[in-house]
Each structure stands twice: as structure tokens, then as C-alpha cells.
Amino acid sequence: MGHIGKSAFPLPSEAASAPGAEGWEDLYPYFTRFRPEDDEKFWFYNSMHFPEPMPAFDAMSAEIAYMALGAVTARVFAFPTVLGIEYRIVNGRVYITSHAVTDPAKITERLALFQERAGHYYQNWATLFAGWQTRMKNLVAECSAIRVPELGEFEPGETVTNARGFAENHALRESWDRTFELYSKMWHHHFEFLMLGYGAYLVFFQFCKAAFPEIQDQSVARMVAGIDVLMFRPDDELKRLAAKALEHGVDGKFVEGAKPDDILASLRQLGEPGKNWLAELEQSREPWFNISSGDGFYHHQRSWNDDLSVPFAALPRYIRMIKAGESMDRPTEALKQERARIISEYRALLATDDDRGTFDQMLGLCHLVFPYVEDHKFYCEHWFVTTFYNKVREFGALLARNDVLDDAEDIFQLRHREADEALADLMLAWAAGIPCAGGQHFKPIVKRRREILKALEQWNAPPALGPMPDAVEDPAVQMLWGITSESLQRWSAPIEKGRENEVTGFAASPGVTEGIARVLKTAADIGQILDGEILVCPVTNPSWGPVFGRIKAAVSDIGGTMSHAAIVAREYGLPAVVGTGQATKRITTGQRLRVDGNRGVVTILG
């Protein structure tokens, strides 16, 4: 990428510490800091995955994810024109840059490998994907089963009678290390198919843009998107549970605003009918309630299983709808027919038989790979990551019981290598028969870091840093970054006069509507939304599913035309604008909005 003139963005070296957050560097490893030579490169803020300042522990999700991503693109499949992604953290925000291969001889060498290796995956996709699902299920099961030893006064007798040969403090080390090994392995599995899946999509996408210069991203997405995808499943389970509540005659217990614990307690007292419904609930919970309220990167994004208030908030309404005879089933047949119609109409509009042949080939490949693209998040970011963070909490609880931390949650204020040190402290102290030294050391650190994180939240992160590239043409770069020359333009352009009240993003689902904004920061706040309001949120995922039946339109900070919000909005026929970057900052609850899902514009009317 070449550079042009003066950049619209500050240089990395110009980014000063946020006021009150002095010492933030201490939260992250040394290699995440900007270096003098970084001023030469163009970096952009990965707000898509890391929209909030990174707690010290959670920062390892960037470290490990980029280790895996780069390995897959640069080393495993040898994508011809790209290596991996480099990242830095400044003021708690993750900035990334990619590395391109430009030497023609290298590209040729890499292309030969890529053809062989990517070819192997594409040609055996279905079989390999089935194997992947098994591997992922085993990974989750193993992580969940990891035992966190208690380190009691004496070693259990079995250590001796079975001649195990190592004590519980070593078992603790194995458990801790294994937890991280599994996490790292999960990210490798995550990217194993993903880049190839995106690649197939991008090829079709570019073809569509060339054949139909005015086609909207959302139209391409509608041809590719699957109908039977896992992301709808958690919401479908809630509908099933609502029906079961009526079937077992326990629907009266589900009243608006009731606490899940109280509902569960009253069901337990109901005898057989209550027991039957609770059995249905258990069946739904594993695995379908293992969905994160976030995107799988932050420890505080808990799953439905961790906090039943999100799913339970949807039940009273679903029960009412069933009673009123309203259909809640997804019209999958109709959706399939509509998708087939859209595909055949676009196909018919192509000018030549050659193009129709190409269209069939490319779309066929998309349909082959897309189940992975759509479903991997459930296995990885939702099921595995929420399981992993809960396991880390168990280690946090152990440290808290040994007075290294005040609370189990405090472990997330330590870098994972610091947590490793704290556990070493515990292993040693237990062996020596003395108290841990970590309390004195870590408790002030935890306190200060919470203050730093609060201060970092106030920092207005520039969308990019460094000299702007003159063009983003390499499809692999576009694919990995999710940015194009147009999005760079949009970020760097000052807000036009007369358009100060507009927030722009991706046109994700068609239609234009007006209504009242409801800004929700997390899925846990879903209960606040009123029927017919416009949802404005950072990001949505399957845990937001129940809200789509109530809203008039959706606006998100994060996400593209294939994001959860976009797909679900299209299915519900609601206008949606996603990936605005700033909707939750610029819009407040109660404002009147016009959402234009055809053009990707949200207008704040007042």
C-alpha cells in the first residue's frame, strides 16, 4: 500500500495517555506497545471485536487470536498476498495492521502452496467440518471438566494409594496450563476454516459487484446466508419452552419482571408439572443457553446459563403470543423460497452463459462453506469462551479463598501471566505452609487498574492512526480488515455541514422507518425496551434474539452485512443500519430517529 500526503489520522506516537489512566501500559505485555517505527504504518482501531478498553486479563484474547489468525493465513494456508496481523494496544484499545506480500516471486511460491492446501480443505469441506464440530465439542467438554484443586491441609489419600507421584499443587499447575492450552487451541480451530470461508464469500461478492455495480452488500448476503443456522436456535428454544410452559400448565408462573430464581423456586414447589418443565429447561440449556451476551472477547459478557434473566425476560411475551394464537415459528420454507427467487432473478440478469456458469460455481462454493462461517461463533465465541471464562473464575475464587485477591472477579484485572505468578505464589506458600504474599502485591494493583479502566472508557479512540493508505485493493486485506477504500474515506471525512444529525453505517436490512430510540449497552438490559422502539446497541448476537420481535428497527455500533443484527433484521423485515461505530455514543434513549436501512443512514430527528 502506498501513502498519500498528510494523513487525516494522528500518528501512533501522538496518542497521549488518557487523563487519569497513567500507567495503563502496565496492563498489557511489552510487545503490544507502539514502537517508533510504527509511525510509518497505518493502524486501525478494531472496534468490531474490542469495543471497550481491555481489562488486563482479557487482552490475551487479542494476543492469542492474532497468533492463531496469522498462523492460519501466513503459514498454514499461505494466502499468496498476505501474512498475518500485527496488533498494538494504546489506552486499552486494540489497533491492528496487516502485512502484505508484494514480491512477485514470493507470491508465486505461496500461490502454489495455497492452491494445494486451500484446495484440500475446500474439496473435503463437509467431512472436515464434521470433524471440526466433534473436535470443538470435545474441547468444550474438556475445558468444562478441568478440575481446580482446592489445596487442602493434606493431600488426598489417593495420591498415595494410587502412587500418583505428584501433589495437588502440581495438579493445579496442570489444570491452569491446560485451561490456556485449550483456549489457544480453540482460536486455532476458530480460524482453521474461517479465512477460507470468508475467501469464498469475497470471491462471489466481488463478482456480484462487477456484474451489478449498484448491488447492495445486503443483497449479496441474502443470496449466501443460510436459513437453518444455529444463531436462531437459542431463541427457538425459548419459544419451545414457552409452549411447554402452557402444555404443562405452569405458564402462570412466568410474569413480567419476576426474578428467575423465584420462578425456579416456585416451579420446584409445583410437583410433577413444574418438574417436567424444569427438565425441558435443562434440555434447552445444554448447549443452547451457552450464548454470550457479547461477542466472546470480554470476561464480563456472561451467558444465558450464567444469567437466566435475559432468556426468562422473553418468556412471558412468548407465552402471551401463543395464547393469542400468534405464530412464532420461523417461516423457513417461505424464507428458502424467497432466497431461491432472489438467486434465480439475479442469475437471469447476467448477460452471458459464461457468467451464469461462474455465478453457479461461486455461489455453490459459498453455500458449501457458509454453514461454518455462520455456526462457528456458537461453538467458539459463545460456548467455549463463556465456559473458559467461568473456568478462570474458579481459579480466581481459589486465589480469593487464599487471600491473594478480594474477589474471584479480580483475577480479570491481572494479566494472564500475572495470574500465573499468583498461582505459583499459592503453590509455593501451600507447600511451605505459609500465607501467600500475593495479597499485598496484587490487591493495590487490582484497585488501581479498575480506576485506569474507568478513565480509559472516556478516551475517544481515533478510528485509525498513522499515514492513510491510498487504496485498499488487495481482496485478502479487505477480507481480513473488513475495510475498503470507501470506509477509510468515511472515517477520515469530517461530518458534512447539515449532516451533523446523521449517523452512517452499513445498509444491512432494507426499509425506512421512524420511531423512538432505546439505547441498550448490554443484552441484560433487554427488559427495558418497549414494543415499537428502535434498538440502538453496541452489537447483537443470538442472546438478543428475543428482542427482534418487539422492535421497529435496529442500529448497531459494530458489525457488517453478515452480522447477527443484519441477518435477523432481514428475517424479521426490519430496517437495520449496522457498523456505525458511534450510534450508542451519539444517540440517547428517547430521541426520535429515522432509520434508512436502504442507504445506511440514521437521522436524529430530535
Partner: protein
């Protein structure tokens, strides 16, 4: 011998006797599309008229001898021939049949347009050479303007064009469309492929208040609506300030300019329901002809949608031959070509 045909009696194949415009209107009428009713004065009527008034073919001979670059001679010849054709009487038989057709239309206001039979008439450079007369309200002016259309074959531009291409004067013919006028509340054009990019997956509608003539003449920047041809979603809209409109000049024929009141100037000239209705019509017409169309439409004062004209799109359609992507044996080859940088291409 057929001197006149109503739109219902015309199919596309009748082009040699009703001209391109007439054939198109007949075809649209047959396809069930709401076209303002009308009839065509066929080429045979022109031939009969010429045979009666110029039995020795003096006109044809004069024109055939003109040199394409001799502008002065063409000019002189044109004036003489047009004067002659506009002053001689119509054969009674033809006059009666045109008047009968006009009476059947309700004897109200009509448009009289020339409808050329030449294959080249789709060529934009020639299409503009033919005449259109609007808001004619009585039989005398209808008859007069039918003749004016015929005479327009001998305009300086038309003669120069034929001489330049060395087209024969023998068999030269012109049909004339007589069609009921729509007093439009809004009117405009519709392209079933994007004029800007040639994209066949969108329909572009341009419209303004009043008659469509102010858009055609470029006096008003029309509102523009881009509709996804597959889903029907309006994917872009640009509402412009429309300060004036054309209204019918019933007294003198033709159109009058009049101001649009302030409040309406920046309002869209079409409702979403009207955009949707036009979209459906556009899609149906394209399907009927099997290729992209440029369409003129109008919405009457009582909200009825009419199609005034539909022509095959020509600018982009000529470029269709090259495939978008190089054909490959398999989808994987496309992936490799995309990700292989220059090495793969």
C-alpha cells in the same frame, strides 16, 4: 389497404406499416399495460398521400440528387418540399378515416407523433429528428399535424442524415401516432437498467411535477429513485428542488411553464406506492420484451398510471458481450485467481 390501425390491432411485427413507436405502443397495449388509447396512421396513408400529390416522384428524385455536404441546397430543397406537402389537400378517403379515429378517441386532446419505420430510428441521433405535437384539441389541427409529421421527413436534418448514409428515397415512409393526452400530475422516465452504470439489477425512475416534457428538455432536475429490481426495495432516492412544471396549453397546443408552489418544491413527486406501482410495470415491460427498456410514464390528475412509450435500451446493451469473470473449470480456480494477486492472472 390499411390506412389506420388502433393500438389494439397492432403487434410488434407490424413495425413496417406502423413504425417503431406505433408498434411499441400496440405491443404494450396488447401486453395489458396501461397505455393512453390511440391509433396509428399507417405508412400506406403516407404513400397514398405522396402518390396523389407527387405522381411523378419529383420529390424523391430531387432529394436523391442532393449532396450530403451541400447544406445550402438541402436547406432550399427542404423548405420547398415541406411547403408543398403542408399545403396540398389530403385525399378525402384518408382524411375521413383519420377524423373517424379521432372521434372514436373521444375527440379530446391528443398528441400527434411521427413513428419512423427505419431500423435506425432507435439510434438516438435520429430519434430526435422526428416531430411530436402535443395538446391538439380539434380535428383540423390533428389533420394539419399528421401532415407536419410527414413533412418532417424532409427536414434539413432528416434529408442530411439520409444523404450522409446514402439511404434510398424509394420506399421512404412515415407512420404517425395519434394518442390521447394524459394531463399529468407527475411524469418522467424509467430505465430498467441503470443509465449510470448499466446495472441490470436496478430500475431507475426519474420524475417531476406536471408533464414529462420539462424533464426531456432538461429544464428541471427530476427526483431520482433507484429501486432494486429483484427485491423492490427503494435503495436510493435523491429529491431535487423542482421550481417549475409544464402544463398543457389547451388554447394553443403545446405546453406552458408554470411555477411550483414553494412547499411542494422539495417534496418527492411520487409516493412510495406509486414508485412500487411503476416498478412493477417496468419489470413487467422488461420481461415482456426480454430486454432492458427506457420508458416514459405519467400519472394522471386522478392518480392513474400510464405508460407513454417504451424503447429498448441501446447504450449499455451493446456492451454485453464480454463476461464479467474469466470462465474457469471450478469455483476453486476463481478463488485462486482472486487471492493469487498478479501471479494468478
Amino acid at each position: 389497404m390499411t390506412f389506420v390501425r388502433t393500438f389494439q390491432e397492432i403487434a410488434l411485427a407490424d413495425r413496417p406499416i406502423v413504425g417503431g413507436k406505433g408498434a411499441s405502443l400496440g405491443e404494450l397495449t396488447k401486453a395489458g399495460i396501461a397505455v393512453p388509447p390511440g391509433f396509428v396512421v399507417c405508412t400506406e396513408a403516407f404513400r397514398q398521400f405522396l402518390a396523389t400529390n407527387d405522381p411523378k416522384n419529383e420529390i424523391g428524385k430531387t432529394v436523391a440528387e442532393l449532396a450530403a455536404e451541400d447544406h445550402a441546397s438541402i436547406s432550399t430543397a427542404s423548405a420547398a418540399i415541406r411547403q408543398r406537402l403542408e399545403s396540398v389537400p389530403l385525399p378525402a378517403e384518408i382524411e375521413d378515416i383519420i377524423v373517424a379515429g379521432y372521434e372514436k378517441l373521444g375527440a379530446g386532446t391528443v398528441a400527434v407523433r411521427s413513428s419512423a419505420t427505419s431500423e435506425d430510428s432507435e439510434d438516438a441521433s435520429f430519434a430526435g429528428l422526428q416531430d411530436t405535437f402535443l395538446w391538439l384539441g380539434d380535428r383540423a389541427s390533428v389533420l394539419h399535424h399528421v401532415r407536419a409529421c410527414w413533412a418532417s421527413l424532409y427536414s434539413v436534418e432528416s434529408i442530411a442524415y439520409r444523404r450522409r448514409l446514402n439511404l434510398p428515397e424509394d420506399g421512404l415512409a412515415m407512420a404517425v401516432v395519434v394518442q390521447r393526452m394524459v394531463d399529468a400530475r407527475a411524469a418522467g422516465v424509467m430505465f430498467t437498467r441503470s443509465p449510470a452504470t448499466g446495472d441490470r439489477s436496478v430500475i431507475v425512475i426519474e420524475g417531476s411535477y406536471g408533464l414529462g416534457s420539462c424533464i426531456v428538455s432538461g429544464e428541471v432536475t427530476p427526483d431520482k429513485f433507484v429501486v432494486n429490481k429483484v427485491t423492490g426495495d427503494v435503495i436510493d432516492r435523491a429529491i431535487s428542488q423542482k421550481t417549475m412544471q409544464h402544463i398543457p396549453d389547451r388554447a394553443r397546443g403545446g405546453v406552458l411553464e408554470c411555477a411550483v408552489e414553494g412547499a411542494r418544491q422539495n417534496e418527492p413527486c411520487l409516493t412510495d406506492a406509486e414508485i412500487a406501482a411503476l416498478f412493477t410495470v417496468g419489470k413487467n415491460i422488461e420481461r415482456h420484451y426480454g430486454k432492458p427498456q427506457d420508458i416514459e410514464w405519467a400519472i394522471s390528475q386522478d392518480d392513474e398510471i400510464f405508460l407513454l412509450q417504451s424503447r429498448p435500451e441501446t447504450v449499455w446493451s451493446r456492451r454485453d458481450a464480454t463476461p464479467v469473470a474469466k470462465p474457469a473449470r471450478s469455483a476453486l480456480d476463481h478463488v485462486f485467481a482472486t487471492f493469487g494477486g498478479r501471479a494468478a492472472s
